[in-house]
């Protein structure tokens, strides 16, 4: 018996695979994190680019690896463009705030809505940038559509989700993904999204209900300690939801006759989130230990008279401040590396390795099409601190 006979007789069933070396990625993010420190954050554009290059290049579909053609310089340019637009906006926001406040104290809160709109625009345009830098078999993906139209939809949906305490979230996700995918293309193949909000809701409603219960019941019953008991359950619930969402999202993607199917197990992401949390806790413990030791050493060196541990004396000690600063920066580098290794690379690998593609013969000869998009959206996303995929 050979393996071929067990494959269903659907034309072109191919699975994705991720073959990147974990050690290489770890080196990349640790080195990048330190460079980010040295350059006070400017290296982030090149680090993001290098991480994507690694992830894309090691993602293989039907034997051919993808390629990321974006550059750090493009991201930097997008960031500068975003600053040029956001800077006057911030000042306008400030002046408008003064006007609104003089009418009524603390009335400027609704202006936050404007920034929400901007961040949604950023999410759309950032996706567009990433997609147009994604190449497979010498043909790029591309995307049309209006970032503002998307931002408006996203904001209205967000309002609806807010008013229903999160109940409508699956429908929001589905509607927004439909808009994004209807404007996405691979060469001449038109994308679409066939995932239904109801389907995601049916699978995940209990997570929503449990989360709501966990958050509301302890405060209703005046049992704050109950919150502490259920707190560890929240990352698990989140990991379950994320796995569910990934699986639903991938299985809804279409490019022409090509369709994807994800077999990501529901519990697949739980270990990743728990490991990330565990490592973060370890890093924090290491940081406290380092601070404690540093404090003792400094007190001994300066010949502390009388009380050894006088926190207020240490607070004003320059050496201690410097030690704390360095430790804190290294802690950030560590946190970032943990997030990037577990929640970016490992998550990506799990998702790719459980994805199957059907009907790839439709993509055997696709003519190249489409324009490159600027990194303005990435710049906004950077300036407004939002993330999307």
């Amino acid at each position: 018996m050979n393996e071929m006979s067990s494959v269903p007789q659907v034309p072109m069933v191919r699975s994705g695979s991720f073959c990147g070396s974990r050690a290489e990625f770890r080196r990349l993010v640790l080195r990048g994190g330190l460079l980010e420190l040295i350059t006070l954050g400017f290296y982030r554009f090149w680090l993001a680019t290098d991480m994507r290059r690694h992830l894309w290049a090691n993602t293989t579909l039907d034997g051919d690896a993808a390629e990321y053609t974006g550059t750090g310089k493009e991201l930097l340019l997008g960031f500068l463009m975003a600053v040029a637009i956001l800077a006057p906006l911030y000042i306008g926001y400030f002046l408008l705030g003064i006007e609104a406040e003089s009418l009524q104290t603390f009335a400027s809160v609704p202006l936050v809505a404007l920034f929400y709109l901007f961040s949604q625009f950023a999410i759309y345009r950032a996706r567009r940038y990433r997609l147009t830098r994604t190449v497979w078999r010498g043909v790029r993906f591309w995307m049309t559509g209006s970032g503002w139209a998307y931002a408006l939809r996203a904001s209205l949906w967000a309002l609806a989700v807010l008013l229903t305490f999160g109940l409508l979230l699956p429908w929001r996700t589905a509607a927004l993904e439909r808009y994004k995918m209807n404007h996405s293309h691979y060469g001449e193949l038109q994308g679409r999204f066939e995932g239904r909000g109801l389907e995601l809701f049916k699978r995940g409603w209990w997570i929503w209900a449990l989360t709501l219960a966990f958050l509301i019941v302890p405060s209703l019953l005046w049992l704050p300690y109950l919150t502490i008991v259920v707190l560890p359950a929240l990352p698990v619930l989140f990991a379950l939801y994320r796995a569910m969402e990934w699986r639903w999202w991938l299985s809804g993607l279409r490019f022409g006759a090509v369709r994807l199917q994800s077999a990501l197990p529901a519990t697949a992401l739980i270990p990743l989130y728990l490991k990330a949390i565990g490592w973060s806790a370890l890093l924090l413990m290491g940081f406290s230990l380092y601070l404690g030791l540093g404090g003792v050493v400094i007190t001994l060196l300066t010949g502390g008279e009388g009380e050894l541990f006088r926190p207020e004396a240490l607070q004003n000690n320059i050496a201690m401040l410097v030690l704390t600063g360095i430790g804190y920066l290294l802690l950030i580098v560590g946190f970032n590396a943990v997030m990037r290794i577990y929640l970016l690379r490992d998550l990506w690998a799990k998702v790719v390795n459980t994805t199957t593609v059907y009907g790839l013969d439709a993509a055997a000869e696709v003519a190249a099409q489409g324009e490159l998009a600027t990194a303005l959206g990435e710049g906004f996303a950077d300036g407004l601190d939002v993330a999307g995929f």
Partner: protein, 364 residues
């Protein structure tokens, strides 16, 4: 169709022409130029070795692009021997094109940019704030003052103390300080009923004095010195200076650190360092103003320092101005103590007026 063949019979190389996703299996022949021929022997492309560049690929695959061909045309070689043979012939394989980067250059320029931004924040912004603040129209300052006043009242209580006898005593004290300080009469002092001992100068010239400060004061000189300190802020346009300085410093620092994840605390620390050194100077200058006013009135300037020291002994830091712990309270007290002198001028308030002022918040 290429996939009809079992994959272990690997063709020599795979070629994508960059105009369609078709997977061409090609053989390579090395001559003057690199010839890419399909299995029927047709030549699909002829590439100059010097034009070839390495593209990202999984390990074990050599993927090449060509600067003279369509930008997405790719040649993929999986056979290590063939890859080595080709690598030896290509001269510019790892030339960093305009697209890829040199880490050293990024580090150099980032450090330069960061240094320049920090220098501007530390040295440039104070100068700009200094020059710009006095130029702002007073109407703008006053409008801002209304906003801040509303917020302060919302946070700390909005009952204005207006006992007539206390008001009269306050007016006398304020007038003495105002004329000694050489300020015009757009300044005003309002006492708010509050348990927090503090005082704050608003943009536009209004000073809010919280009743707990009156309760803690031992004599009129201490209150006069506090008012003089706040008037110092008014005379120096400190509110607008701090607003311009701290606002733009925050913006610059935020810009600099961007979203270096977890940078929140870093941004906050840097901002606090830069802005507090600026406010420390402003506080020092306001103290100087207070000292000069008190000396002009012929009273000892030490009252402010004594009152501050008593207050900070009672409660720690506070967000508002007078006990904001910028310069160390001990240093401020010692500075004013060293200038202590026997009063040469008349008392600022009579004993009865002082009692009335202390009782300004009592409801009639």
């Amino acid at each position: 169709m290429p996939h009809d063949l079992p994959s272990h019979i690997a063709p020599e190389a795979i070629y994508f022409d960059g105009t369609s996703s078709r997977r061409h299996r090609v053989t390579l022949s090395f001559g003057e130029r690199l010839l890419l021929q399909n299995l029927e022997g047709e030549t699909l492309a002829s590439w100059a070795f010097g034009d070839l560049r390495r593209a990202d690929a999984p390990s074990g695959i050599l993927r090449l692009s060509n600067v003279a061909a369509p930008p997405l045309a790719r040649l993929e070689i999986r056979d290590p021997g063939l890859a080595a043979q080709l690598t030896a012939l290509c001269t510019g394989l790892d030339d960093t094109g305009p697209a890829r980067h040199s880490t050293a250059r990024i580090v150099r320029w980032s450090v330069a940019a960061a240094a320049s931004v920090l220098l501007i924040a530390v040295f440039g912004l104070p100068l700009i704030a200094e020059r710009l603040a006095p130029l702002l129209p007073r109407s703008f300052e006053q409008r801002l003052g209304v906003v801040v006043e509303q917020q302060v009242k919302t946070l700390l209580g909005d009952r204005v103390c207006d006992d007539p006898a206390g008001q009269a005593a306050l007016a006398k004290l304020v007038e003495a300080v105002r004329s000694a300080g050489g300020l015009d009469d757009h300044v005003a002092v309002v006492v708010l009923s509050s348990g927090i001992p503090n005082a704050v100068a608003l943009p536009g010239g209004k000073v809010l004095l919280f009743s707990a400060l009156l309760a803690d004061a031992n004599d009129p000189d201490e209150i006069a010195a506090v008012i003089a300190h706040e008037f110092g802020h008014v005379a120096h346009h400190d509110n607008m200076k701090v607003l311009i300085h701290n606002g733009s410093a925050s913006f610059l620092i935020g810009l600099l650190f961007g979203d270096l994840s977890g940078s929140g605390a870093l941004v906050f620390a840097t901002k606090t360092l830069i802005t507090s050194s600026y406010s420390r100077e402003a506080e020092h200058d306001a103290d100087t103003f207070s000292i000069e006013v008190m000396q002009k009135l012929g009273r000892s300037p030490k009252g402010l320092g004594e009152l501050l020291f008593r207050l900070t002994g009672k409660q720690g830091g506070s967000a508002l101005d007078i006990v904001a712990s910028h310069p160390l309270t001990e240093d401020r007290r010692d500075r004013m103590r060293s200038l202590d002198a026997v009063p040469t001028g008349p008392p600022l308030l009579t004993a009865a007026e002082w009692q009335a002022l202390k009782a300004i918040c009592k409801r009639s």
